[in-house]
Amino acid sequence: MAMKDVPDNVFMTSLDAAASWARANSLWPMPFATACCGIELMATASSRFDLARFGAEVMRFSPRQCDLMIVAGRVAMKMLPVLQRIWLQMPEPKWCISMGACACTGGVFDTYAVVQGVDRFIPVDLYVPGCPPRPEQLMAGIIALQDKIKHGGTLNGTEFGKRTQPTGPAPYDLDELIRIREANEKLVALN
């Protein structure tokens, strides 16, 4: 088909790009709100900040209907299996925002009960730092994620199947550290 046959009101694009464009502009977040960050997430969605301006306001609490998980708040070790299960229930393609210092790294809670960053156990696409992040910052994060979705991504989502490597930091193996320290101490004692 020659170029001149195409009328003015027809756009040419690849199917992948069209799909990504559509996905980016209709994100349905699943608010996994556990703690204080959840209240800021609420503030983002309600009056004054109004997340709806950026096309990501359809909060659905059922994971089957969502494609963006926002982990807002710290995840305790009792909660992590729940988080993983909800993540697995969400249909592809799906993305994950880790909102707040706690979800990103454990934040101020470097204690026995808090998971030190959800990215150790589920894949995370975007980190929004802050304790809690201001609503503006969360919106900036969502816009950045939309940008990320628009560039790259395929219609049938084959790119996800290839990512078999965990993306977060390696699990912190306490036993391993203890073993290393004991070996070092032995070395020092030998010398």
């Binding site: 959840g38 004054r48 708040g73």
Partner: protein
Amino acid sequence: MPFEVSELAEMDAPDKEYLWTLNFGPQHPATHTTLRLILTLDGETVVNAVPHIGYLHSGFEKLGEHLDFNQYVTIVDRMNYISPLHNEISWHHAVEKLLGIELTPRCKYLRTILAELMRIQDHLLNTGTCALDLGGFTAFLYFFQQRELIYDIVETASGQRFHTSYTRVGGVAFDVNNAWVDKVRSFVKGFGPVHAEVHRLLTRNRIFIERVKGIGYLSAEDCINMGVTGPLARASGVLRDLRKDEPYLAYADLDFKVIAAKDGDCYARYLVRMQEMLESIKIIEQCIENIPAGPVNVDAGTKAVIPAKPSVYRSIEGLIQHFEVMMPNRGFPTPKEEIYAATESPNGELGYYIVGDGSPRAYRARTRPPSYIHFAVFPQIIKNHQLSDVVAVLGSLNIIAAELDR
């Protein structure tokens, strides 16, 4: 409306085959945060409810043993996160009692205003989400707008809109300025009309009343026996308010009423909260026009207090004291004593039991969390209600998961 208890008494047996088991939470929109209930249902009627908690247990009290009195304020903030500043005020109230510090009048008034703003903030979110869960989105949006104004006020005072970490032992981090006073004044002025509007939206709304009236009844005796305090107890007719009973901060000088109701159901709790907000506005009005002049922090001669910045930069004593307070290995001597001190938080009696061991760290920093104690009554009050009442009752109890699990 709940059924008569006698009618369903024999259904308590767990092995009845017609009973259903329903898992509610821990990730459920109506729980707002992480609560989990295992409900046993007979059709739509809740026969039994077993709460499972701890999904947000993050070791607050353990952390309290590792941070000093000023540092731990950043952690208590995160406990009841819909009224963060009130936790700080309670925590430092207990610490100052342990150390025997008497605040300056200016600081007392300042903290009183902030505490009342936090009470309003808490009740705003609670009544707003309570309406939201029952299908009234408008009230939620109206109230959230007011919350944003309070966020602005605390941001002007402290520099952070949410977790302010504003109080310090013997004072606050920075004194407030005239812009702050103006903001509080304009908030006080604008609050009444919004409150009245939500009043018109909800209080006589047929749908809302049908969902909350007569639901979740709690008697006064049960309240006392189960340790329930705050708006919940007052809605059941227990006239107990620590602001009146054990006055702290500036409450002894102020003129306000203790709001109470007799019915003890969700509707009474809603009404008590709505009315308490107006009472808080009254307190703020009295305080904001009467803030005493003078220093906001206690005299730096008290060893535990962070000295003012000019004295740190310009005098050797100030510098030394700053060093002593700030360095983790220095610190100031504290009594080797134990103390229990409580304040009236928006949710009820928020107490701290502090064991001091002579160092600037608490040996044990125990919180008496009102949410924890209030959630324990839930299985009892939800019995023989409909499944849809679970949401209404949860909303009216105002359970904050971080305070619940700590």
